[in-house]
């Protein structure tokens, strides 16, 4: 279960779920909410598919998986609309895009179709948390350097601004997320030499 947090991380090693990892991380709060939502959806989708894996005809399994996931995402989306409306506004279409998040299809295909419900549940939780971890790291740096705050609370003191420090507006813009991910990959692979590509 802990493998996906580090050596087998879904985002930076398996290359899954990158779309949303980049788009929702300009602030820390939506990043956390997104990480939790994906964890819940992956875990339960894994359990459901694992329970019915022997009855799904092979040819239409992608559609079956999509319908199960779409139903779960609808529940999560309605829940967010009811209890966290502001965050839901910020996430906009990316809540719906959890459906096509590659983590889901990847884990359903690779794990839930061949394993029991309990193992699938743990696999889902592990991968969801691994994904959330990367999101939180990216969100932390982008909010700190882009807005000088964390979770909406000002962290960099006013005195620093008086000396002429300015928030880096580029960090909020989309391309910077890609650079942050690249740096994370760089650090991660320097520490785990066996993961390097020749």
């Amino acid at each position: 279960m802990l493998g996906p947090l580090n050596k087998n991380n879904p985002v930076i090693i398996q290359m899954l779920g990158i779309c949303s990892a980049l788009a929702v991380t300009s602030k820390l709060e939506p990043a956390i909410v997104m990480g939790l939502s994906v964890t819940v959806v992956v875990a339960f989708a894994n359990v459901i598919i694992s329970l019915i894996r022997n009855t799904i005809p092979n040819r239409i399994r992608i559609i079956v998986q999509l319908v199960v996931v779409a139903a779960l995402v609808t529940v999560v989306s309605e829940f967010l609309k009811a209890y966290a409306f502001d965050v839901n506004k910020q996430l906009s279409v990316f809540v719906g895009l959890i459906i096509t998040n590659c983590i889901l299809m990847g884990r359903l295909e690779a794990f839930a179709l061949g394993n029991g419900p309990w193992a699938s549940f743990l696999d889902g939780i592990g991968n969801g948390l691994g994904y959330g971890l990367i999101l939180v790291i990216i969100g932390f740096f982008r909010e700190l350097f882009g807005s000088g705050s964390l979770l909406g609370i000002q962290v960099i003191p006013q005195a620093v601004y008086d000396f002429g420090y300015v928030n880096n507006g580029l960090v909020i813009l989309p391309p910077m997320a890609l650079f942050v991910v690249a740096v994370i990959i760089w650090v991660h692979r320097s520490r785990n030499k066996e993961l390097q590509e020749s």
């Binding site: 930076i12 290359m15 899954l16 779920g17 990158i18 779309c19 949303s20 980049l22 788009a23 992608i62 559609i63 999509l66 319908v67 779409a70 139903a71 995402v73 609808t74 989306s77 309605e78 906009s92 279409v93 719906g96 895009l97 459906i99 096509t100 998040n101 590659c102 299809m105 813009l173 989309p174 391309p175 910077m176 997320a177 890609l178 650079f179 991910v181 690249a182 990959i185 760089w186 650090v187 991660h188 692979r189 320097s190 390097q196 590509e197 020749s198």
Partner: protein
């Protein structure tokens, strides 16, 4: 007419699926290793976007939206089915992909062989569902604009993946720090291309 043109240009350059919203990143990173397959996937994605956006637009406006069922009679005018939109959209996209796959297999076996596994995987490409969800959010005035938006987003996506594939083909000869090779450098290049595309952001027609 101007509206169609400006939607078209905006969706290619300003609201580029990859550089502005990171949609379809997974297949973008996985398939951009050579130009030929990248082009094939780009064409397939564009085609599916052009086909599914008008269908989803009509469904959204005549079935799902609040009050959309009014044409069936006054007693249905209050019905709001928008919570079903995720399931309906993804079902349309998945079944359409299946349909296109069967048609291509039957009538153009050469194209089918060259696209291989990418055809069925288009169903889970975020760019396609993203197109439908943005269409829902932006509330386009008519079905023509929605179709043009689909065409533009598809072409923008294709442009990005083909450009990326061309850069990556050249990258084989460059000396990159070991831990950055492969995935890391691809991210950095995508970021640089994204900064390039940002210069279109003030574009108006």
């Amino acid at each position: 007419m101007e509206e169609l043109l400006s939607t078209f240009v905006r969706s290619i350059f300003v609201d580029n699926m990859i550089f502005a919203y990171y949609l379809g990143m997974c297949s973008f990173l996985a398939v951009s290793k050579n130009v030929k397959t990248a082009l094939g996937l780009g064409v397939a994605v564009t085609f599916i976007l052009v086909c599914t956006l008008p269908i989803n637009y009509l469904l959204e406006n005549y079935v799902l939206k609040e009050g959309a069922l009014a044409w069936m009679g006054a007693e249905y005018a209050e019905v709001n089915l928008s919570f079903l939109s995720f399931i309906i959209f993804i079902a349309i996209i998945a079944s359409f992909t299946q349909l296109v796959e069967m048609v291509v297999e039957r009538f153009a076996p050469a194209l089918y062989a060259s696209l291989g596994i990418f055809l069925p995987l288009i169903a889970v490409n975020c760019a396609i569902l993203g197109g439908s969800l943005f269409m829902q959010q932006k509330a386009f005035p008519n079905v023509g604009v929605a179709t043009v938006y689909g065409l533009g987003s598809g072409i923008g996506w294709m442009l990005a993946i083909v450009g990326m594939a061309a850069v990556r083909e050249k990258l084989t000869y460059s000396d990159i720090p070991k831990p950055l090779r492969g995935l890391g450098i691809t991210f950095i290049i995508t970021g640089l291309m994204g900064i390039g595309f940002m210069c279109f952001s003030g574009l108006k027609i």
